[in-house]
């Protein structure tokens, strides 16, 4: 029987009622007394020398309060980068400055140049159009390989080139890997592009700065996945505001997918402007503006080689990737193609030797950073595509080739510096074959054929490193932050609890699932627990939500804090019942003296903690509130297997996803309904990447795919119902809940399944020359491939 409450129950989400009745409180729903409105003047060219900004006309327009330019920000720091990567020769990466408003040069379309503040948004927008910008256009660099050529124009004049870093991993393995390729029985090579994507959370970014001159306190309301990180970065590095004088609030946030991790210029600009003007200043991003300012994702150009022995055992993997950083280093950009990508190149397989080379390149494009999966989809895609290609070349079934190379014993230390704690890749693959009804494929193939359609089946596996991340480890790897999480559990006198977490929920349903965990631990109803997040004023220092870390890291902090609560409550209960704390058992919200019928209710104990008349005051303090920080000692390793069935129209090249199945091992599950939903959403994003989405710049660096009319977001009719299963569970061994994280899996596992399926369909139709098509597999690309 499924549980009806607590861990393992599909509790309905408490968040939903406010969202379904229009009572959510997103940042743009906040309007402060006396608020002014901001509009940014942005570069309309990709690369140019900024010779002057004339604000005279704009300043005189109706309602205009002030026009800020870079000169106003001279005493202000630049946007910091949170990760320093060391290149393969031991040198630090090239790290350019990133001013709040462009100085000297503009480096991508959308680069902010001036900030107009007016009484209304329409007035600010009208005036922004009247700001005269004198830009001497320079030749932009857009293609990564061209950007590294001798004599290429430089994005940053003060750097030696457009190369951010040339990273080798594991550098010591380089020669051994090369040697393995020289003697390999068979080598499969694949050149591919993992195209640039725009994250496109449905809520555009918003920032409202507020300043109280009487107390000298600043407040920023912002659409963020990690308000504490924004407070630290903006306070310490940009505006010089100590954290106790700066509050960052991220209320209901309409999706993030990574794009709302980063500290953006607009946040600093409105906070700064609010202080200057002593008025709240609000900026709401338009969608068109989002396309040229939100950090984008992926954008790798890769060559991967797989060496196999005569039996099909993987001998070595060698990759060379060019990773686009865009015009500036976004907050975590350098870590994505390196530590979140290279470390995953072993996948689910025993490959003794791996060498990953990544060249990160500056171009005159929007900065690139983490987008759902962040590095791990790029690793998975190339690995699972090259395995499929290798299987075809050596004449082995691609499923069998994977099984032959599966890691089956745990813990397993990969040659790329991570140690998988648990997993059972055969179990998820077996489950996948069952739920995808692979046995019925031949019949469906015949049916498609009868209708004149091609049909293909694509299967792949994936692994990811989640629960980000052990601080001591990431510190060694160049992170300038710790990646623990925190929780404060406050028990009220009448027994209800408030859990204040550093995690942030922007669609994941933490208010429901976190309450399930604490309810289960104490044995009380979920509705006695309130989850508070998203405000630095009333939550402990936390690192926020990304990297499928909230339950694995934030949940673990909450479990630690709740255990401290229970330990103290047990002492109080022991005192009330004149027993020894060791003899006290907590079950279903009652403390019982073991082996007796003596008991006190949870509420009696919590009341005693706050009305300590009969209380062991010489041993413990009154009150019942505990804080815990949890720093994981390893990543978690969700893994699974995905299957996609497509139909291809031989006349037009149009691909239709007919069936999609996902079998994931997320370890223990708190709320199966929410986990299903996370996987569904990830799959749709993966199908979107595989078939629809791409980010296109023209030769001048203008973004051609700059709106929903040009950037093909997946819609309801582009996707089928999905079959998802997470019954294969190998619990994580090193966190108290045994959970691994489920937020990114769908987006990581699905793109190769779709592409494998399309290639399979074309191969089955006799087009054996087609071994790969670059994403997105639009009708024109597939049709062109079919023409040979």
């Amino acid at each position: 029987m499924p549980k009806d409450h607590g861990i393992g129950a599909s509790s309905k989400r408490r968040e939903d009622v406010r969202f379904l009745t229009g009572r959510g409180r997103y940042t743009d729903d906040i309007n402060l007394q006396g608020q002014a409105h901001a509009c940014f003047v942005r570069s309309q060219v990709a690369h140019g020398r900024l010779n002057g900004v004339n604000t005279d006309a704009a300043a005189g327009m109706p309602g205009v309060i002030r026009v800020f330019t870079a000169a106003d920000f001279e005493g202000v720091g630049g946007l910091p980068c949170g990760w320093q990567v060391t290149d393969r020769h031991g040198a630090p990466m090239q790290e350019p400055g990133h001013p709040v408003l462009a100085t000297g040069k503009v480096r991508h379309v959308g680069d902010p140049i001036a900030l107009v503040v007016a009484e209304t948004y329409d007035q600010a927008r009208d005036a922004a159009e009247a700001v005269v910008v004198d830009i001497e256009e320079l030749e932009p660099v857009l293609d990564m390989k061209a950007a590294l050529a001798d004599g290429a124009p430089k994005v940053h004049d003060d750097l030696t080139s457009n190369l951010c870093y040339d990273w080798g991993f594991v550098e010591e393995n380089r020669e051994a890997v090369n040697k393995a390729f020289e003697t390999a029985h068979h080598v499969t090579t694949l050149d591919l592009v993992n195209q640039r994507l725009v994250p496109n959370a449905m809520e555009p970014r918003v920032a409202i700065g507020d300043y109280n001159f009487a107390t000298d306190d600043s407040t920023l309301y912002t659409t963020s996945q990690n308000p504490h990180v924004i407070r630290l970065l903006m306070g310490a590095f940009v505006l010089g505001i100590p954290e106790h004088k700066l509050r960052v609030v991220a209320p209901d946030v309409g999706g993030g997918f990574g794009s709302k991790i980063f500290h953006y210029a607009e946040e600093a600009a409105v906070t700064f402007a609010a202080k200057q003007l002593r008025r709240p200043v609000k900026w709401t991003c338009t969608r068109s503006e989002s396309f040229v300012t939100d950090a984008q994702g992926r954008d790798h150009v890769t060559k991967i080689e797989l060496a196999l022995d005569a039996e099909g055992h993987f001998q070595a993997i060698r990759t060379e990737t060019y990773a686009n950083m865009g015009a500036y280093l976004s907050t975590f950009a350098p870590s994505i193609p390196t530590w979140l990508h290279g470390t995953l190149m072993a996948g689910n397989y025993k490959t003794p030797l791996i060498y990953v080379n990544v060249k990160a390149v500056f171009t005159n494009t929007v900065p690139v950073d983490a987008y759902r999966g962040a590095g791990r989809p790029e690793a998975t895609f190339q690995l699972e595509r090259v395995i499929d290609k290798a299987a075809r070349e050596i004449g082995m079934d691609p499923v069998e080739l994977r099984r032959k190379n599966f890691i089956t014993e745990f813990p397993y230390a990969t040659p790329v510096a991570v140690e998988y704690d648990t997993g059972d890749y055969n179990a998820t693959l077996d489950k996948l074959l069952e739920i995808a009804d692979v046995a019925g494929f031949e019949a469906r193939l015949a049916e498609s054929k009868a209708r004149g359609k091609l049909r293909g089946l694509g299967i792949n596996c994936y692994i990811e490193a989640c629960g980000i991340a052990p601080s001591h480890l990431v510190g060694q790897l160049g992170a300038r932050a710790g990646l623990y999480e925190s929780a404060t559990v406050r028990v009220n006198a009448t027994g209800g609890l408030v859990v204040m977490t550093g995690s942030h929920s922007h669609g994941q349903g933490h208010e429901t699932s976190f309450a399930q965990v604490v309810a289960d631990m104490i044995g009380i109803p979920e509705n006695m627990i309130e989850i508070v997040h998203g405000d630095t004023a009333n939550t402990p220092m936390g690192m926020g939500t990304y990297g499928s870390r909230s339950l694995a890291v934030g949940g673990s902090a909450m479990v630690k804090a709740t255990n401290k609560i229970i330990a103290k409550a047990r002492k109080i209960a022991a005192h009330l019942m004149e027993a020894s704390p060791e003899d006290i058992e907590l079950k279903d919200g009652r403390f019982t003296v073991a082996g007796t019928d003596k008991s006190v209710a949870w509420g009696d104990v919590t009341l005693a903690a706050y009305v300590p008349h009969n209380y062991p005051l010489d041993e413990i303090e009154p009150g019942l509130e505990e804080t815990a920080f949890y720093d994981p000692n390893n990543f978690t390793y969700p893994a699974g297997a995905y299957a996609c069935e497509v139909e291809v129209d031989p006349e037009t090249g149009k691909v239709t996803v007919e069936r999609f199945a996902a079998a994931d091992d997320f370890g223990n599950i708190v709320n199966p309904m929410i986990v299903d939903g996370q996987v569904h959403g990830g799959i749709a994003q993966g199908i979107g990447q595989a078939l629809l989405e791409t980010t296109t710049y023209d030769e001048y660096g203008q973004l051609l795919s700059g709106s929903y009319m040009d950037y093909a977001m997946p819609r309801a009719s582009d996707v089928p119902f999905y079959a998802v299963d997470h019954s294969c569970q190998t619990p994580c061994t090193h966190n108290p809940l045994g959970v691994k994280g489920c937020g990114e899996a769908g987006a990581i596992g699905s793109p190769p399944a779709v592409v494998n399926a399309v290639v399979d369909a074309l191969q089955r139709a006799g087009m054996t020359h087609i071994t790969h098509i670059d994403m997105p597999l639009t009708p024109s690309r597939v049709w062109a491939a079919m023409q040979g």
Binding site: R13, Y26, E203, G677, R715
Partner: protein
């Protein structure tokens, strides 16, 4: 500025607007009905869908002045008179048809307009009708499922995690 008068969720309202003021702006800024969301500026995402005289309309592409004398219904007016969730709202909660909640008002308004026209729509009909509504979180699975369920159709075969009773 011109005065515009309309009925919103059963209440007569009026306000001064510019010719360029959009219905979405008037609802959000003029009336404080922030449940109607703005997710794009090209009339593509559908987060702003409301009902104008019973028809589902993108309020970001409708001038407030066009709605003189109109009956408007927004997400704030969708619950039952006693405040409980209406059938379509309840179906979205029961089947996890929303995550971040940002596209949700438009999805609910579009879905209810569909059900008014076609009380038991097929899966294909639902997917086609949602063409103008983008969701980045759910992958649409549970939205389509919720609409099927709200129309009284059996959805027990569509995934196993939706409700305790379904397992």
């Amino acid at each position: 500025m011109t005065r515009v008068t309309m009925t919103v969720n059963g209440k007569a309202v009026s306000g001064e607007v510019e010719g360029r003021t959009l219905l979405s702006q008037f609802l959000r800024e003029g009336l404080g009905l922030t449940g109607t969301h703005i997710g794009c500026d090209t009339s593509q995402c559908g987060a702003c869908v409301v009902h104008v005289n019973g028809q589902d309309v993108k309020s970001c592409t409708t001038f407030a002045l066009e709605c003189e004398g109109a009956e408007i219904r927004t997400i704030e007016g969708m619950a039952n008179p006693d405040g409980s969730l209406s059938t379509i709202q309840q179906a979205f909660q029961d089947h996890h048809g929303l995550q971040c909640g940002f596209c949700t008002p438009g999805m609910v308004m579009t879905a209810s307009a569909l059900l008014a026209k076609s009380p038991t729509p097929s899966e294909a009909e639902i997917r086609h009708y949602l063409e103008g509504n983008i969701c980045r979180c759910t992958g649409y699975h549970n939205i389509v499922k919720a609409i099927l369920a709200a129309s009284g159709q059996d959805v027990s075969h569509l995934g196993h995690g939706d409700a305790v009773a379904a397992e």
